[in-house]
C-alpha cells in the first residue's frame, strides 16, 4: 500500500497488499510461445506482429495450455494460413495496441493539464524515502539514485515472492491478493480522482450521489475485470485503471527519481524477461512445465472473447482480470498474441464448447489479438504525463514523447514478430521517450520558441 506520508487527502492504506500487488506484478512473460507457434513463418516482415502462443492467455484454461503436445500437429496445417493472416492482421494488431495506449496517454495528459492536484507535491511514497529537496545537485542526484534502488529492489522482492507463491501453488493467496488490490484501486483512487476533478471544475456533488456513482463504477469494474464482461468495457476499465495508477505515480514520485526509475525499470524489464535466471522467465517456465496458464499479470488484451464463451472454470476468466492488477509497477510486458494459442485452445476445448468448433475457429481469427501488460501502459503514461507536467516546452515535448513511444511500440512489435517470444515492451519505447523528452526540452524548445517569435517557418 502506498503510504502517503504527508498527504492530507488520503488515508493511510494498509501497506502490504497494495504494494505487493503492485510490484508483484511480475508479468509473467508469456512465452509460451513460439516454439509452438512455429507456424508463423519467421519473416522479418515489418508488420508481422502476431505472436503466437500466449500461454498467458487467460483463456487457457488448465487443460488448454498450449504447451507442446497438441501444438505441433496443428502447426503445419495452420502454418500457411498463419502466414497469410499475419500480414493482414499484423498492422491491425499494432493499431489495436496504439489505440488504448493513446487513449490512456490522452486521459493522463488531460488530467495533468487541468487538475492542479496531480502536479502538487504533497509528500512521497514510502518507497522513495529520500527527499529531493536538497540544495546541491550532487546530493539530489544521489538521493534519486538511492530512491531508484529502493524502488527496484522492492519490485524485485515482490516479483520473486510472486514466483515463489506460484511455484508452491498458493493460487488462492494470489487471487485474493489481486482482488483486494483491484478493489482498492477501483474504489479509493477513483474517489480521490473524482473528488479532485470536481474540485477543479467547481461542480458540487453531494455525498449520496457520489457514493452511488463510485459504487456503480467500482462494482461494474470488479465484475468486468475479474469475471465476465463485454470486451470493450473491460478494455475501458483497464485503461482507466492504468491512467489512475500513472497519475498516482506522477504525483508521488519526485522528479529526478521518476526519470531514473523509468530508466532503471526498462533495464530491469529487459533482464527479467530475457535472462535465463530472471524471475519472469522462471515463472513462465514453471507454468509451462505444469501446463497451466501463467499466472495472470496485468495484461491488456485486444481480443479476449474466448473466456466469455468458454464453459471452463473461473480460473480462466479470472486470468485477464488479474492482469489488470499488476501492472502496477513493473510492467513487464510481454507481448503475446494469443492467436495461435487460441487455435490450439479451441481444439483442446472442443469437448466443452459453447458453440460449435468451426465457429470457434472463425471467431478465433477475428479475435486474435495482441496482449500488452498493463504495467507498460502505466509507465508509458507516466513518461508522457511527466513530460506534460514538468516540461516548460509544454505541448511540443509531450507530442514528441508521444510519437517516440508509439514508434518504440511499433519496433517492439516488429521484434516480436521476428523473435516470436515474449518480449519486454518497455525498454525500446522508454528509451526513445527519454531521449526525446530530454532533447526536445533542452534543444528543440529554444529553437522553436525563437522561430515562433519571429514567425518563421521551417
Amino acid at each position: 500500500m502506498i503510504t502517503f506520508m504527508n498527504n492530507s487527502d488520503s488515508e493511510e492504506e494498509p501497506c502490504n497488499e497494495r504494494t505487493s500487488l503492485m510490484s508483484a506484478e511480475s508479468p509473467p512473460v508469456p512465452s509460451y510461445q513460439d516454439g509452438l507457434q512455429a507456424s508463423e513463418a519467421g519473416e522479418a516482415q515489418a508488420h508481422r506482429k502476431r505472436r503466437a502462443g500466449s500461454s498467458r492467455n487467460p483463456n487457457n484454461v488448465a487443460g488448454g495450455e498450449t504447451s507442446g503436445s497438441g501444438v505441433p500437429v496443428r502447426e503445419s496445417a495452420l502454418e500457411n494460413e498463419e502466414e497469410e493472416l499475419t500480414l493482414k492482421y499484423g498492422a491491425k494488431h499494432v493499431i489495436m495496441l496504439f489505440v488504448p495506449v493513446t487513449l490512456c496517454m490522452i486521459v493522463v495528459v488531460a488530467t495533468i493539464k487541468s487538475v492542479r492536484f496531480y502536479t502538487e507535491k504533497n509528500g512521497q511514497l514510502i518507497y522513495t524515502p529520500f527527499s529531493e529537496d536538497t540544495p546541491s545537485v550532487g546530493q539530489r542526484l544521489l538521493n534519486s539514485v538511492l530512491n531508484t534502488i529502493v524502488m527496484i529492489s522492492v519490485i524485485i522482492v515482490m516479483t520473486v515472492f510472486l514466483v515463489l507463491l506460484y511455484k508452491y501453488r498458493c493460487y488462492k493467496f494470489i487471487h485474493g491478493w489481486l482482488i483486494l488490490s483491484s478493489l482498492m484501486l477501483l474504489f479509493l483512487f477513483t474517489y480521490i480522482y473524482l473528488g479532485e476533478v470536481l474540485k477543479t471544475y467547481n461542480v458540487a456533488m453531494d455525498y449520496p450521489t457520489l457514493f452511488i456513482v463510485i459504487w456503480n463504477f467500482g462494482a461494474v469494474g470488479m465484475i468486468c475485470i475479474h469475471w465476465k464482461g463485454p470486451l470493450q468495457l473491460q478494455q475501458a476499465y483497464l485503461i482507466m485503471i492504468s491512467a489512475l495508477m500513472a497519475l498516482v505515480f506522477i504525483k508521488y514520485l519526485p522528479e529526478w527519481s521518476a526519470w531514473v526509475i523509468l530508466g532503471a525499470i526498462s533495464i530491469y524489464d529487459l533482464m527479467a524477461v530475457l535472462c535465463p535466471k530472471g524471475p519472469l522467465r522462471m515463472l513462465v517456465e514453471t507454468a509451462q512445465e505444469r501446463n497451466e496458464p501463467i499466472f495472470p499479470a496485468l495484461i491488456y488484451s485486444s481480443a479476449m472473447m474466448w473466456t466469455v464463451g468458454m464453459a471452463k472454470p473461473d480460473t480462466a476468466a479470472r486470468g485477464p482480470s488479474q492482469q489488470m492488477w499488476d501492472a502496477g509497477e513493473d510492467g513487464r510486458e510481454h507481448l503475446r498474441s494469443p492467436s495461435h494459442a487460441e487455435s490450439q485452445m479451441s481444439e483442446a476445448r472442443s469437448p466443452v464448447p459453447t458453440r460449435p468448433v468451426t465457429s470457434l475457429e472463425e471467431l478465433e481469427e477475428e479475435e486474435r489479438g495482441v496482449k500488452l501488460g498493463l504495467g507498460d501502459f502505466i509507465f508509458y503514461s507516466v513518461l508522457v504525463g511527466k513530460a506534460a507536467a514538468t516540461a516548460s516546452g509544454d505541448w511540443n515535448t509531450t507530442l514528441a514523447c508521444f510519437v517516440a513511444i508509439l514508434i518504440g511500440l511499433c519496433l517492439t512489435l516488429l521484434l516480436l514478430a521476428v523473435f516470436k517470444k515474449a518480449l519486454p515492451a518497455l525498454p525500446i519505447s522508454i528509451t526513445f521517450g527519454l531521449i526525446f523528452y530530454f532533447s526536445t526540452d533542452n534543444l528543440v524548445r529554444p529553437f522553436m520558441d525563437t522561430l515562433a517569435s519571429h514567425q518563421l517557418y521551417i
Binding site: 515489418a46 500480414l87 499494432v94 493499431i95 507530442l399 514528441a400 514508434i407 532533447s439 534543444l443 521551417i458
Partner: protein, 232 residues
C-alpha cells in the same frame, strides 16, 4: 483540413497509420538534429550580437530545411525496403499499399508533425487571456499563423508525393525542385510580418505543387472534370 485528410483517408487502414506515425517520427528526428546544430552555434557565439543571432537563425532554418529533405529521402529508402518485405509476405504477390499511397501518407505525416509543432503552443496560449499584437506587432498573428501552418502541411503532403515520385523514376530535377521550393517557402516566411510577401507566394507555390502532384499521380484535367460533374 489536414486533420480531415487524416480522418478520411488514413484512419481506415492501419498500415497507413503506422507509416504516418513513422513519418512524423522522422520529421521529429530531423528537427532534433537541426536544433542541436543551432543550439551549438548559438552557445558558441556572442549572445549580444543581434545581427549575428538573426543570421544564425536564418542559417538554422535553412539547415533544418535541408535536413528535413534528407530525412525524407531516408524515409523513402526505408519504405522501399518495407514494400519489398510486404510484397514477399502477401498472398497474391502484390503489395497492399502502393508507393504512391505511401508517399502521400509520408507527406501527411511530415506535414502534420511540422504543423503540430508550429501551432500547438500557439493554440495553447490562445486559450488564455491576452490581446494579440498589443506591443505593436501585427494583430493578425494568429490568423496568419494558422494559414501559414495549413499551407505548410499541404505543401509537405505534395512534396512527399513529388519527392517519392522523383526518387522512383530517378528524376533528380524533381527532387531538386522540391528542395528549392521548401527553401523558398521558408525563406519567404522571413518576410513576416509583411504578410503579403509570405502568404501569397506560399499559396501560389502550393497550388502549383498540388497541380503537379495531381498530374503525377495519374490525374488529368479530364478526370477532374468528371469528378466535379459527378459523372460516372
Amino acid at each position: 483540413p489536414a486533420f480531415g485528410l487524416f480522418i478520411f483517408t488514413i484512419a481506415r487502414d492501419p498500415l497507413r497509420i503506422i507509416i504516418l506515425i513513422a513519418g512524423a517520427f522522422f520529421w521529429l528526428v530531423s528537427l532534433l538534429l537541426s536544433s542541436l546544430i543551432w543550439f551549438i552555434a548559438v552557445k558558441a557565439s556572442n549572445p549580444q550580437d543581434e545581427r549575428l543571432q538573426k543570421g544564425l537563425l536564418i542559417f538554422g532554418v535553412m539547415f533544418s530545411v535541408l535536413l528535413q529533405e534528407a530525412f525524407r529521402f531516408l524515409y523513402y529508402k526505408l519504405l522501399r525496403k518495407a514494400i519489398e518485405g510486404l510484397v514477399a509476405l502477401s498472398e497474391d504477390g502484390c503489395s497492399p499499399i502502393s508507393i504512391q499511397q505511401m508517399a502521400y501518407v509520408a507527406g501527411v505525416g511530415f506535414g502534420l508533425m511540422s504543423g503540430a509543432f508550429s501551432m500547438i503552443n500557439l493554440l495553447a496560449d490562445a486559450l488564455g487571456p491576452g490581446t494579440v499584437g498589443i506591443h505593436g506587432d501585427s494583430q493578425l498573428y494568429f490568423l496568419t499563423s494558422a494559414f501559414m501552418t495549413m499551407v505548410l502541411i499541404f505543401l509537405h503532403t505534395f512534396w512527399g508525393i513529388l519527392f517519392f515520385h522523383g526518387c522512383e523514376h530517378r528524376r533528380w530535377w524533381e527532387i531538386a525542385a522540391v528542395v528549392t521550393m521548401h527553401l523558398t517557402v521558408s525563406g519567404l516566411s522571413f518576410c513576416n510580418p509583411l504578410y503579403v510577401g509570405s502568404l501569397v507566394p506560399s499559396y501560389l507555390l502550393m497550388a502549383a505543387a498540388a497541380a503537379w502532384a495531381y498530374l503525377l499521380s495519374g490525374g488529368s484535367a479530364q478526370n477532374l472534370r468528371r469528378f466535379l460533374l459527378c459523372k460516372c
